[in-house]
Amino acid sequence: MDWTALWLSLKLGAMTILVLIPVALFAARFLAYRRFFGKPVAEALLAVPLVLPPTVVGYYLLVGLGNQSWLGQWLMQTTGHLLVFHFSGLLLASIIVNIPFAVQPIQRGFESIPQDVRDAAACCRMSSLRMLLTVELPLAWPGILTAIVLTFAHTLGEFGVVLMVGGSLPGETKTIAISIYDRVQALDFAAAGNMSLMLLVFSVVVLALANSLSRKFGRRGGYHEL
């Protein structure tokens, strides 16, 4: 069992959630309630990582952030290191490929709140922030929970984009999915099998827990379940 790789994957998943979910909350709320010119295009752009092979996203990040690009050179001069083959680059890639997994369930969560409820909140003279905290977030919570679980699970299982951007540097960019691939390449099927089984059990437990929590929230007055 490659514990370092497992720890790196968990760290990457947690950091992706911490950075992406707050941003996704505001983007999803904006998309759910505002009508603006070009909204379908904005929604399509956010959904692109769903249909694009992860290696394509990885390729553009590699080219865009590598030492041959102006952005890469600027980062090198400013911070002293490149994002590619580095944990921060892996985090950026993970955030980008997870945008639709985070934004879409939260957007659906906000959209499922009836207009009547939001109107009543406004007529109760709730500010936009108070409405978000006391009415919208509790009601959209199952959607937010779905976004967290999907983002985390997707990060653990991500392979193509991680390999393209991060390579396989132990402790830095070698996640559990890459480690399983490495073990198979080295014909160490026992280790690969152990890690795969652990990842499978972990995924099932997390999804079951999330479903159960979502049902609990649904019964408490929310509108939707995972």
Partner: protein
């Protein structure tokens, strides 16, 4: 200082709407009209949940909307009960009512919310979530929430439409009781004429984005200003008759072979028209024996039995006009039977010529 609501607005999108209305403090105005006529939109414009393209909305001396001012719902102090009540499903009844009192300290919020639940007879249901309450109870929580924050106007969007008739009756009484203690304008949106007649001081009839007529319910029902108003308030016998003669106070209309002298109750427009529309109220007709003096004769075209009542469709002799008449079901009538009628012409209402 008066706190009357005055509104004159125009909206082009998503549909055309043009309305001017006033609601005095302590008055209950019912906006009555068919689905899609724009009555709920007017309520949303007053609440600030939607803005008109032009016009002005004022409450007393405070301007809520005009070319320069555009107050948000939070700035207007509006008590609003949406069509499906808009209760916060994750909060208890008590917290729903307290939601509009967030400017007060926590203890005061709870105290006032409890008092309002008591006023709507829901003290025992304070801890229940909306899903654990009946439709009528939900409506009362929504009403308590709308009133708890001491609003300057109360807006009710079809609050009784989803309730059974028994619950509705008891809530009518409750609303009438609450209204007696409120000195603010109250606007009720409904498509139910009986409800509007029972609760409202005045009704405003809306159709296709414009207000057709407003006034006391009885006045609108008895003296509709147009044929469309007559249709909307459910009057059946709207007849079209040839205008034979006209004085300042009466018109003579030809209905079949009969000449009817009818009083003019409102301006009927220029005298150049050959035909006029008029309303023959059912209670102005009396079936009389063939030997008695009759105003007009007609034959039964169709009989519709409705429970203990029967509706007769009568074709006037020598005319194509058909009017309806409701009679007790136990009377024996047959299709084709000729009837003689006495008409109380003072109850007939001439509609303005268009």
């Amino acid at each position: 200082m008066s706190s009357d609501l005055w509104l004159k607005v125009a909206l082009q999108r998503p549909f055309a709407l043009e309305a001017e209305l006033r609601c005095a403090e302590g008055e209950l105005l019912a906006l009555l009209g068919p689905s899609g006529s724009g009555k709920s939109t007017i309520l949303r414009l007053i609440a600030g949940l939607q803005y008109p393209q032009s016009g002005s909305i004022k409450l007393g001396n405070n301007t809520w909307f005009d070319q320069q001012v555009r107050l948000t719902p939070q700035q207007r102090r509006v008590g609003y009960v949406p069509q499906n009540y808009g209760l916060f499903p994750h909060m208890s009844a008590l917290n729903n009512v307290a939601a509009g009192l967030h400017h007060l300290p926590r203890d005061a919020q709870n105290h006032q919310a409890r008092q309002w639940l008591e006023r709507v007879h829901l003290s025992d249901y304070a801890k229940r979530k909306p899903a654990e309450l009946s439709g009528g109870q939900q409506q009362r929580v929504a009403l308590a929430r709308a009133l708890a924050a001491d609003p300057s106007i109360l807006l009710l969007d079809e609050p009784f439409s989803a309730l059974d008739s028994i619950t509705r009756e008891s809530l009518y009484i409750q609303l009438a009781e609450l209204k007696a203690g409120l000195n603010i304008p109250i606007i009720l949106v409904t498509h139910d004429l009986n409800e509007a007649s029972m609760l409202a001081d005045r009704i405003a009839l809306i159709d296709n984005g414009s207000i057709l007529q407003s006034g006391a319910p009885d006045h609108v029902i008895r003296q509709p200003a147009s044929r469309r108003v007559a249709e909307l308030v459910g009057l059946h016998n709207i007849l079209r008759s040839e205008l034979v003669a006209r004085t300042e106070s009466t018109v003579t209309l030809k209905l079949g072979q009969c000449l009817l002298n009818l009083p003019i109750t409102q301006a009927v427009g220029p005298g150049s028209h050959d035909y006029l529309y008029w309303i023959l109220p059912t209670n102005a007709l009396e079936v009389v024996g063939q030997d008695q003096t009759a105003t007009l004769h007609g034959s039964i075209n169709k009989i519709l039995r409705l429970g203990n009542l029967a509706r007769l469709f009568v074709r006037v002799d020598g005319a194509s006009e058909v009017f309806q008449l409701q009679v007790a079901g136990h009377h024996h009538f047959e299709v084709g039977q000729v009837l003689a009628f006495k008409l109380d012409t003072s109850q007939a209402h001439i509609l303005p010529a268009v």
